[in-house]
């Protein structure tokens, strides 16, 4: 009987058996979204700073580079207007990423001429491996790898940052980075030879 009581006391004294403190930490974007919805419109600029590179990367993988900057602005303005429709304030990244993808699709629906020019430019080969050529090679990769590689190599984001912004799991991002880079190397090697 005494042994049992002693064991119970020891268990209660250990940290693992004490009640965990309520962790109510909010992610920064969640706080910002709530602030904007409560009328602090200026706080949206911070969200823009945080997520503009990601949106830029998503658009760069889909639309001509000359159109990307204007589209980024349009997408954020659209997001500001529709921010009240975002149910989970912590999911701002995936939400605005989806808006960017949809906007890229709309862009191609509205301007087919641009597609033809882009494809011609992508097919053209140049002896110098410029940034544009490599970007075109990345754009020919499967969609899952395209965005991740652009965010990593163009926007300079690390794997954990990509996972945090896009809402993907770190494991998925890691796999996409590894396989995408391998495929890109093969394509660059094929062009070189």
């Amino acid at each position: 009987m005494l042994e049992a009581e002693a064991t119970a006391d020891m268990l209660l004294m250990t940290q693992s058996f004490t009640a965990p403190a309520a962790v109510t930490e909010q992610r920064p974007e969640e706080v910002l979204v709530r602030a904007v919805l409560n009328g602090e419109r200026d706080r949206f600029a911070r969200l823009y700073e945080m997520y503009a590179p990601m949106v830029h990367g998503i658009l760069l993988a889909r639309v001509p580079r000359g159109e990307v900057d204007d589209l980024v602005q349009d997408i954020f303005l659209h997001a500001l207007r529709k921010l009240h429709t975002l149910r989970d304030a912590g999911a701002f990244g995936p939400w605005i990423g989806m808006i960017a993808r949809n906007r890229a699709i709309d862009f191609y629906r509205s301007s087919r001429e641009t597609i033809e020019v882009t494809e011609q430019m992508a097919v053209a080969r140049s002896p110098n491996r410029t940034a544009k050529e490599i970007l075109d090679l990345i754009c020919r990769l499967p969609e899952a790898y395209r965005e991740t590689l652009i965010m990593r190599f163009v926007e300079g984001m690390t794997g954990p940052e990509i996972a945090a912004r896009t809402g993907l799991t770190p494991a998925s991002v890691r796999v996409n980075l590894h396989r995408g880079t391998k495929l890109l190397r093969e394509k660059i090697g094929a062009i070189a030879t």
Partner: protein, 189 residues
């Protein structure tokens, strides 16, 4: 390929990846200030709670009203039926039997009360409530004076006699024997 460097730029740098970073870094996003036009309004979440509360209240009231109406309909106002005891008429010498010994006593049944509903069974408290809220309607026949009643009875007895005599005459004309119906009732039945 150094996976750690590719993942989070930790560990030994991979020269090929560094080269890609340098080339593609020229396309990096150039920070621009977001110009928010003045006409852009931040959408507000619609607070649907008041509307939902009003709708729920109206629905609740409708349900309660329906229940109350159906309950009241089931407990319709009970009408009390007053039973009037049969009135025995005094023996009238004109209505004595043929042998003149046994007078025929006529029993007047109480007139049927038209439009009077049979009282339904209901809980006592409801009955008392109904009594308080509704006045029972009793249809009363006009009261007849004893003279009028006696005349009425005379007419009725006369009619019966005439009817009996007519039946007898009919049987005789048809040639059928006059049967003692009471005695032969088992044969008929």
């Amino acid at each position: 390929m150094n996976d750690n460097y590719l993942w989070d730029r930790s560990g030994e740098p991979d020269p090929e990846i560094q080269n890609l970073e340098e080339i593609l870094g020229t396309l990096r996003y150039q920070p621009r200030t977001l110009e928010i036009p003045h006409d852009v309004q931040v959408g507000r979440r619609r607070n649907l709670f008041p509307a939902m509360a009003i709708a729920a209240g109206i629905a609740l009231l409708a349900v309660l009203l329906g229940l109350w109406l159906s309950f009241n309909r089931r407990q319709a106002p009970a009408i009390e039926v007053k039973t009037i005891p049969p009135v025995t008429q005094p023996v009238n010498p004109a209505t004595t039997s043929h042998d003149g010994q046994t007078p025929i006593a006529t029993v007047v049944k109480p007139p049927k009360q038209i439009g009077v509903q049979k009282q339904r069974e209901a809980p006592r408290n409801l009955q008392t409530r109904n009594r308080n809220s509704f006045t029972p309607t009793v249809i009363r026949q006009p009261e007849l004076t004893p003279d009028v009643l006696a005349e009425k009875q005379q007419v009725l007895v006369a009619l019966r006699l005439v009817s009996a005599k007519l039946n007898l005459a009919q049987r005789r004309t048809q040639g059928a024997p006059q049967l003692n119906q009471i005695r032969n009732q088992h044969k008929i039945g």
